[in-house]
């Protein structure tokens, strides 16, 4: 379906393009409060679940089970079952951790930053983008714990009054991670849930079965849409958004500190925070596309998730992609400009060393392919191509982390201790397993929760327009 987006007949195309702006409409015309509500609630409240869902759910479940197997073996035998060694003491675990966290960022960005910027087009995608964030953080959060040599002592990273009278060591970036990631997880969940409360109300009122009514009734906390509530609710959402924005920036900044604070050439650079954040959003939007495109097709949500969204996300990726490119460029420039032998050798080794191939992959996937093609609106709105791009960028961003973690480690200061890194089957099982876990959780979400925020969609419908007459009266 590489060009599926283009094959449709002009007539329908035109209706979806807003004559005034020449942009795609955010929502296809002809939608009313009720129709939107119906469309979205039906997906959840329908008694018959589509078979496709079960199929995917099975796959996800299987992979998640594989993850459990891998983890059990890990806890029994030790981190030695992975490829990590001396000098490359960090491997897949940390790479995946950074990758997953990065993916999470797009969700928060869409729900928070775009909200602050009053980008109303975000409304149709922010709910599952946030869900994606949370599940991504779940997968990410797994790794810092399991990569410990003695995971059962992980709680020593929390400040609590122990009988040893010893406390965590707050100068360590890993401690910062603990707080950054946990805060990120909590705030995301809260933000996500608060956002859903009014919709839970709707679900409660639309549900037929008693169980559904109870369940959604409880979740809605008895929401009844009083405008007073709405006003406080709006304020809270804005505040949460205002908090989530610096949070999301800080989280990947802190993650980048794990590297930037270390002494290793290739890690010890000040460019990391911005370029990690940009990279995170880059891969995050890629992931949103990877999810949105099949979803809208599967659940026939083309009317709510339109080409406009795909197009805009394409633009965001283009922008962040260039920030990332700047980051790469700056690393190379600094390797030369700093006149530091460490930097120079690291860069040479990164490009032409035994693991140069990884650098090649990342340049191809992150720069060569997307940054050249995303200029074209035709391609940006071609559903098939955007799906392809989203996969490419996700791959590329994974390799970026691989290059940063491994190639900096395996050849550092003392040539005598140079080594290499080779991942084992357990590494791959764990990584693929988290993909499964993610899929598993996400499918549960689309099945049981409203994946598009109805209350926010409603505000964009023509029906929500207050007539000029009323305004006039408001005047006097």
């Amino acid at each position: 379906m590489a060009t599926g987006g283009l094959k449709e007949d002009e007539a329908t195309r035109d209706r979806r393009i807003d004559a005034a702006t020449g942009e795609y409409r955010v929502i296809a015309p002809g939608q009313t409060f009720r129709s939107v509500t119906e469309k979205i609630t039906r997906i959840v409240l329908t008694p018959d679940t589509p078979l496709g869902w079960f199929a995917l759910f099975g796959v996800g479940g299987a992979l998640a089970t594989m993850l459990m197997v891998a983890l059990t073996w890990l806890f029994l035998i030790g981190t030695g079952i992975w490829g990590i060694t001396q000098p490359a003491a960090w491997g897949f675990a940390i790479i995946n951790f950074v990758w997953w966290i990065g993916i999470g960022h797009a969700g928060t960005l869409i729900s928070a930053i775009l909200l602050l910027f009053k980008q109303s087009w975000r409304n149709s995608i922010n709910r599952f983008a946030e869900a994606m964030t949370i599940f991504a953080v779940v997968c990410a959060g797994l790794f810092p714990l399991i990569h410990l040599g003695r995971p059962w002592l992980g709680y020593w990273l929390l400040p609590y009054p122990s009988t040893m009278d010893v406390w965590p060591q707050f100068r360590s970036p890993l401690m910062w991670d603990v707080f950054a990631v946990s805060t990120y997880a909590i705030i995301s969940v809260v933000f996500w849930y608060i956002g859903m409360v009014p919709d839970f109300g709707t679900m409660r009122d639309r549900a037929e079965s008693k169980i559904a009514q109870y369940f959604y009734g409880l979740c809605s906390l008895g929401w009844r849409g009083s405008v007073r509530h709405w006003m406080r609710y709006e304020t809270a959402s804005l505040l949460l958004a205002g908090l989530a924005t610096p949070l999301v920036l800080s989280v990947h900044t802190v993650i980048s500190f794990d590297f930037a604070v270390a002494v290793l050439p290739g890690w010890h650079t000040t460019i990391f925070p911005p370029y990690f954040v940009a990279g995170a959003i880059y891969s995050g939007f890629a992931m949103v596309l990877t999810l949105a495109i099949p979803l809208r097709k599967f659940y026939h949500l083309e009317a709510l998730v339109t080409e406009r969204h795909i197009d805009n996300m394409g633009k965001v990726m283009l922008a962040t992609g260039f920030i990332v490119a700047y980051g790469y460029g700056m690393e190379i420039f600094m390797a030369w400009y700093s006149a530091s032998h460490w930097e120079a050798f690291m860069m040479w080794n990164r490009m032409f060393g035994p693991m140069g191939w990884a650098y090649l992959v990342l340049v191809t996937c992150n720069l060569a392919i997307p940054l050249t093609t995303l200029w074209s609106r035709k391609l940006r709105t071609s559903i098939g191509y955007m799906f392809f791009i989203s996969i490419v960028v996700n791959t590329g961003m994974w390799f970026e982390r691989f290059v940063i973690v491994v190639t900096s480690l395996y050849r550092d200061f003392l040539p005598s201790s140079w080594g290499t890194y080779r991942a084992t089957k357990w590494d791959y099982m764990t990584y693929v397993g988290t993909l499964g876990l993610f899929m598993f959780l996400f499918l549960l979400f689309v099945r049981f929760l409203p994946m598009i925020p109805m209350s926010e969609i409603r505000t964009m419908l023509p029906g929500a327009k207050i007539t000029a007459k009323t305004r006039a009266e408001a005047g006097d």
């Binding site: 707080f179 809260v190 409660r204 008895g222 009844r224 849409g225 009083s226 505000t459 029906g463």
Partner: protein, 180 residues
């Protein structure tokens, strides 16, 4: 306390936000104070119409944030300077730049939580039971596509028949009496 008996108020249903706002504004001008609007999505004009302008959520958030900031920074400083001072790679015991990061995170954490739970508390949620839900048409519309104005019995001006007639002036889809 024994459950309240009798009428909670009168509920007028409208099809468009416009009608609701007009009615609400009029009601307020006519001196109604115990009244509220119910809409499927935030309608600021309606809030203004019933004279609801400012709320305390920001204040709560600010306080929460400050608590988080102070708590964490104090903890870090106490731990590294007094509780068990150690020479960590020759760094000073009071390494405030490093301490800023967790403190910063906790500021956000506490602020965020206070915003969310503060909002719920101020809204008096959870309130799983509410008289309005007794109204036959309320749950069908209020969270989907209908707009409601409710004049409550607690208002001194309230009189079942008069008020009903009063509401009829606004040409609502329907006016129903809501029992407790």
């Amino acid at each position: 306390m024994p459950p309240r008996e009798g009428t909670y108020g009168l509920l007028a249903e409208f099809d468009t936000p416009g009608d609701l706002i007009r009615a609400a504004r009029q009601a307020r001008l006519d001196g109604w104070r115990r009244l509220d609007c119910y809409t499927p999505y935030p309608v600021e004009e309606a809030a203004e119409a019933i004279g609801f302008h400012r709320n305390k959520v920001p204040l709560v958030t600010l306080v929460g944030g400050l608590i988080g900031l102070v708590a964490m920074f104090a903890l870090e400083t106490w731990v590294s300077v007094w509780a068990f001072p150690l020479n960590i790679g020759g760094r000073p015991t009071y390494s405030w730049p490093a301490f800023l990061v967790p403190a910063y995170e906790w500021t956000i954490l506490f602020a965020g939580l206070s915003a969310a739970f503060g909002m719920l508390a101020l809204n008096g949620l959870p309130a799983l039971y509410h008289p309005l839900f007794n109204a036959p048409n309320f749950r069908n519309g209020a969270t989907t596509d209908k707009f409601f104005l409710c004049l409550e019995a607690l208002d001194p001006k309230f009189d079942l028949s008069k008020t009903k007639a009063y509401l009829e002036n606004f040409k609502p889809v329907s006016v129903v009496e809501v029992e407790y």
